[in-house]
């Protein structure tokens, strides 16, 4: 990675921290400690399940909200503040700017996820002291898949923000996230249709990101093993899709008239 991309990435990370993005960790901490302390009193025998389900779901949802709402402003904010012109007047290529922004936000989300993951493990230790199991390594796999989700959504938010207003970008990115959770249903629907509808539905099913394949929270909570092949293919898929969305953003941004 070039030094210029690294600079832009580290500035993006610093800006996110300055924007108090990491404040969401406080809400997360309250949520986790509340769940760990209270759930044993209001439910039966699901303390561990709740900590894992709630923890991983919150990490995923908090991160997706951050990815969308920070991601959509990464380009437009720089244009509005006119700081983009200062950056591009230096020896920085437009694609480097997009790549730097992507890595900066991705880094922010990874740091956020690491802090939250520590919270989940702390809550697990609270409800079951000295008893982290071997099967809890599955939680790490689920966290890794959640980070892959963030990469996808960040790349998509950047793609939309490269040609659209922040509001529309947010709507597009969130809509794609929602549709992505139904990607497997969409494929099932495509198989049931015929003719043009079949091709349209199949195309739609392959265009939208398959978010559902990256969600293994339920399996991990029930200590079911995650296949190694799933990890390999999910990684390859998420990286390919993110690169695809980033390339789209770069292509659009390269041709965008910034005057």
């Amino acid at each position: 990675m070039s030094a210029r991309i690294l600079h832009i990435a580290s500035n993006t990370f610093r800006e996110a921290v300055r924007d108090r993005v990491l404040y969401n960790l406080i809400a997360f901490a309250v949520l986790m400690s509340g769940a760990a302390i209270l759930v044993g009193q209001i439910s039966i025998n699901i303390e561990r399940l709740v900590v894992i389900n709630l923890g991983l779901t919150a990490i995923s949802l908090f991160g997706i909200v951050i990815a969308i709402f920070i991601g959509i402003g990464l380009v437009s904010k720089e244009i509005d503040k006119r700081t983009l012109y200062t950056v591009l007047s230096r020896p920085v290529r437009r694609w480097e700017f997009i790549a730097g922004k992507f890595f900066g936000l991705a880094g922010t989300l990874v740091v956020n996820t690491i802090c939250m993951a520590a919270g989940v493990f702390a809550a697990l230790l609270y409800i079951w002291p000295h008893h982290l199991q071997g099967s809890d390594t599955g939680i790490l796999v689920a966290l890794y898949f959640i980070v892959l989700q963030f990469l996808l959504i960040t790349a998509l938010a950047l793609l939309f923000s490269s040609f659209s207003s922040p509001l529309m970008s947010a709507i597009f990115a969130f809509a794609l996230f929602v549709i992505g959770t139904f990607a497997e249903d969409l494929r099932g629907f495509a198989e049931m249709t015929h003719g043009a509808q079949h091709w349209l539905a199949t195309a739609a099913a392959y265009i939208v990101p398959n978010i559902s394949a990256l969600n293994v929270i339920a399996q991990v909570a029930h200590e079911q093993p995650i296949a190694g092949r799933l990890i390999v293919f999910n990684t390859a898929y998420a990286l390919t899709y993110s690169v695809m969305a980033l390339l789209g953003a770069i292509l659009i941004f390269e041709r965008r008239n910034l005057k």
Binding site: I42, S43, I44, I46, I217, A218, Q224
Partner: protein, 309 residues
């Protein structure tokens, strides 16, 4: 005082007052709307729809619905309400959202199958719930055990119970008592012996204190029922031999029919009434007993279980 400071003080005071007022008003509203609690409403009753709406986070939704089912059942049980209309749908949604949530089948079938006031008194729905659980978790012997348990205890269907225990005994890591219980069902072992075996198995295999306490209460009830029946026989024998009813346990001891004053499993002496019948001293602490209850006894609305050992 500076105007800005005065505004701050007034606004802060009004904020505090309005917060207190809103809490007080809400409490009054709750008193007015006692029968309109949200507990009695299921806005969406289809597990599939809720699964779609949960955007892939269905396991967390299942935990929420399971907690809601527990709260619903616990609230009704505590209040002595015998109507559990929403229990079945809540458990159906819970297991539909997360078919691997074993705790919902294990406890849920107990909630549904047990007769009122301890449960909804709907063993058929309990069976439906466990069969859905077995379909999704065919290797879990505990679900077959729960199925046999409902067939035997609530429906007295020995054949179906035998089939359930037998099927469960073939699952991986099945507890050895599954084979034993299948055999006992086939032989139609004595009612109390079978019930004792079932509750002992429940007590030994349970990890939750509540289940252990419930199993212990049932075991105490079985012992008490057996004691009372045995004492009735002794009294009858005494009457047959002497031509009159005993005036106290001392007469039975003197006649060599008893070694001492008999006590229930909690250590309270049984009572021998003038008509020769046997009564327990504290029926409230011995829920589930069938014999030895004082005439006209009304059980408390909510059963109190003693803590498990």
């Amino acid at each position: 005082m500076r105007p800005s400071r005065r505004v701050t003080i007034i606004a802060a005071t009004l904020l505090a007052v309005s917060m207190v007022a809103s809490v007080l008003l809400l409490r009054e509203l709750d008193k007015i709307r006692t029968n309109a609690t949200l507990q009695e409403v299921l806005y969406v009753s289809s597990p599939t729809t809720i699964k779609r709406l949960s955007l892939g986070y269905s396991s967390l939704m299942a935990d929420i619905y399971w907690t809601r089912a527990v709260q619903y059942f616990g609230g009704k049980l505590h209040a002595g309400d015998r109507h559990y209309e929403l229990l079945g749908p809540l458990l159906e949604i819970t297991t539909g959202l997360d078919p691997k949530l074993l705790v919902a089948y294990e406890y849920g079938s107990n909630f549904l199958g047990a007769p009122p006031p301890l449960g909804a008194g709907d063993p058929h729905q309990a069976i439906k719930l466990i069969e859905f659980g077995i379909k999704n978790n065919p290797d879990q012997w505990r679900l077959y055990y729960d199925l046999g348990f409902v067939y035997y205890l609530e429906l007295k269907d020995y054949k179906a119970a035998e089939r359930a225990f037998e099927a469960g005994s073939h699952t991986p890591n099945a507890h050895p008592f599954m084979k034993l219980m299948a055999g006992n069902m086939a032989q139609h072992a004595g009612e109390y012996g079978m019930a004792r075996l079932l509750w002992t198995a429940t007590y030994q295999s349970a990890t939750e204190n509540l289940i252990k306490a419930n199993a212990q209460a049932h075991l105490r009830a079985i012992t008490t029922d057996e004691d009372v029946l045995a004492l009735n026989q002794i009294v009858a024998r005494y009457q047959h031999d002497t031509g009159h009813l005993p005036r106290g346990f001392s007469e039975l001891i003197a006649a060599g029919l008893l070694r001492g004053v008999p006590q229930d499993p909690l250590g309270h002496p049984y009572k021998l009434l003038p008509d020769g019948s046997i009564e327990v001293a504290d029926p409230d602490s011995l829920p589930f007993i069938q014999h030895g209850l004082p005439s006209g006894y009304v059980p408390p609305a909510a059963v109190k279980l003693l803590p498990a050992d």
